[in-house]
Amino acid sequence: MPARVGVVVFPGTNCEYDAATALAAEGADVRYVWHHDPELAGLDAVVLPGGFAHGDYLRPGAIARFSAVMEAVADFASGGRPVVGICNGFQVLCEAGLLPGALQKNAGLTFLCQPTDVEVTSTRSVLTCGARLGQRLTIPINHFSGAFVCDEATLDDLRAQDLVVLRYTDNPNGSVDDIAGITNVAGNVVGLMPHPERASSALLGSTDGLVLLSSLLDAVHARV
């Protein structure tokens, strides 16, 4: 049975179609979940795609985290089921406290939209379990607030528990420790700034995102 993946749509989300299309091409049964939906019945995994939820007013993710769907996402995650936040979705997960740290304005104060090289630095997450440790991937980034920041204790914890799943090879935004993506201790909640769905076809210039998306679907099947 195909993995049933919910793609959450907030007002201002703009990457839901890309994410859904890429996941469907990998064999997922994708459905959209509106931000008012208080439950995630019948889903095996949830993706929070990129965009500008609620216009990024106040801070990216600051308003979205209070959406009805986010309580359901927190329950879903606490049950060990896969939750992935891409770009704005990563910001929402941090604001919601489902991942540590925060995403701050890029060091250069410029909006960055470019292919970026990242290295897989941990394979213990649902998004990287099918990748090779040290694997280099070229995946686009598209953000203004993508600099991952956290306090020293959190950073020590992320390193010690092998929770940094992706690192930039040439840090574009000032993220601490070159962090491009992290996971929680259980490995089922992942946030990343690069957009794997935009590297999902040769027509888009790279297929390097596929190993991440297929990892997610494999992780679903491994659970069932």
Partner: protein, 83 residues
């Protein structure tokens, strides 16, 4: 009673502030010299119905900590202001 409050949200010490740094670097070009430590932040004005100034301040601080600031990188201070 109704109290007017001003909430200021600033980045915590030690958190890089590229906006403040950029503003600071621009100042000499405009002829402003000897200005240091520029930190950018946000300011909010709001009115609160409460029984006392303390209660108004507590409510404003609570909403500031929960929504207006992200405690991971920011801190919020509340001041009641004259109407």
């Amino acid at each position: 009673m109704r109290f007017d409050a001003r909430v200021e949200v600033r980045l915590r010490d030690g958190i890089a502030d590229p906006e403040g740094a950029t503003i600071e670097r621009a100042l000499p070009a405009l002829g402003f010299h000897g200005v240091h430590g520029v930190r950018a932040g946000k300011s909010f004005r709001l009115s609160v119905d409460a029984d006392s100034a303390d209660a108004a301040r507590t409510l404003a601080q609570s909403l500031a900590d929960r929504l207006l600031a992200n405690p991971v990188i920011e801190r919020a201070t509340v001041e009641l202001v004259e109407r």
